[in-house]
């Protein structure tokens, strides 16, 4: 799982947005030549966590941790995409409601079932960002 951020100076193939989440397992490294790629390692460090990483810890948004990078990266991009007006199947007014988060995060499976904590963490960061 990656977030792909386009380099402003690079040609933008297709209709890529400035920041969008994509699947690393479907992407050849050569395809993102000229773009900036952000993975979980680029979001924060142990001594300087990204707000969403801190929120995942605070809300118990994980058990085994296997899916956690894959939950946090697209959640960061999702908050950005909502700000950009990218719709989901629920979005009438594009308000970031609980169901909206659940639908648009459904591409990331958690075998432990930590979904409630994950959604709580995302909603907290979303409200802090909006405030």
């Amino acid at each position: 799982m990656t977030i792909c951020v386009n380099d402003a100076n690079a040609p933008v193939p297709g209709n890529a947005r400035v920041c969008k989440r994509i699947l690393s397992c479907l992407t050849l490294a050569a395809q993102v030549d000229g773009r900036t790629v952000t993975t979980i390692e680029g979001l924060g460090r142990a001594d300087a966590r990204h707000p969403l990483q801190a929120a995942f810890i605070a809300h118990d948004g994980l058990q085994c941790g296997c899916c956690t990078p894959g939950q946090i990266c697209p959640a960061v991009a999702m908050l950005k995409q909502v700000a950009d007006g990218v719709p989901s199947v629920f979005a009438g007014d594009l308000a970031l409601a609980r169901d909206e988060v659940r639908e648009t995060m459904s591409g990331n499976l958690c075998r432990c079932g930590a979904y409630n904590g994950i959604v709580a963490a995302i909603l907290e960061v979303a409200s802090e960002t909006a405030a």
């Binding site: 050849l28 395809q31 719709p87 591409g107 499976l109 409630n116």
Partner: protein, 382 residues
Amino acid sequence: MKPLAYSRAASLPDALRDTRTEGHRPLGGGPLQLVDVTGLSADIGATADGGLMIGGATTNSAVAGHPLVRARYPVLARAILSGASAQIRNMATVDGNLMQRTRCLYFQDVKTTGCNQRHPGSGCDAHGRFRRHHAIVVGSTACIATHPSDICVALAALDAVVHVSGPAGTRIIAFGEFHRLPGDTPTLEKALQPGELIVAVALPPPTTEVVSAYRKVRDRASYAFALVSVAVIFTMRDRHITDLRIVFGGIIPKPWRALRAEAARRGGPASDQAIHAAGIAEFGQVYRPAGRSATPADYHTPTHLDVPEIEVMWTAIADPRSALGACGIGEIGVTGVGAAIANAVFNAVGTRVRELPIPAPRQTDFQPAAIARRRHFIQLGI
């Protein structure tokens, strides 16, 4: 891993030339020398006749989010957003969706020997076996795969046309003729000729006073292929349907235009009875190949959308049988299995199991009086 090479097509002529070369395949259409065609036309624009032209390399996200699509063709936006996940919709393109291949488990398994799509003439292993997600209408003995796309169901209902370009020039294919039924030649899935690429998909002007909907039934609430989906577009006047189009997805190898149901409903009243009659008109003869339809393999990991809010409640009553006095802490679904087996051994033998793994009972473990007592308690339901 197979060695592969990659190049990015800068223009349509480049793409047509490169993809025609022996051993080259378009990326964005399907994988070797990969020619990346995802950088080609991704424009969405109104056409002179009031319709819409969507570049073949446009991503699903971009189509679903486009103001003209949302305002004039909501059924298309809804179908796209009902499919895959947000990150896949960011990568998937319109032409890739038209070209996508079946999710038949027997086709996907590269070791499968009996798949007429992979190896023409080798037969179809799906017949008579696990056949979830397989065709239920217009069966072919050669292939019972289904087309998995959501977007194509909406495009078929909207009477879209496909613009293709190839060695012999450009041409237009009606959407209903783009995907082929398997018949005796299941390898010929699409009407594309060798060397042709999809350039764009064009939508006719939207009908005014039209109602449209897209519904999808799947194994979980999100991020799953359709067991069945349907796009419906209709016009009502004086409580009568004057025009309608019904297209089903997930039941045959192409979007299924329900012409018999449409004919039964057109001009008629919009009543429950009439809708029921239309269903019988369309599916009176449903194809039912032999085989199983539900096995433990149907198990799906739930998504975010499947899991409701969970309220955790704490009990203040200590359990004297556990060292810490705690009640029911742990992964209940897992711990219950071991305990049930240990209890079953206790019921049969009469001696409590106190070690793991459960040892085979010795002669001295059998306690007839205890077994009789257990039977008594079991009869009482304790």
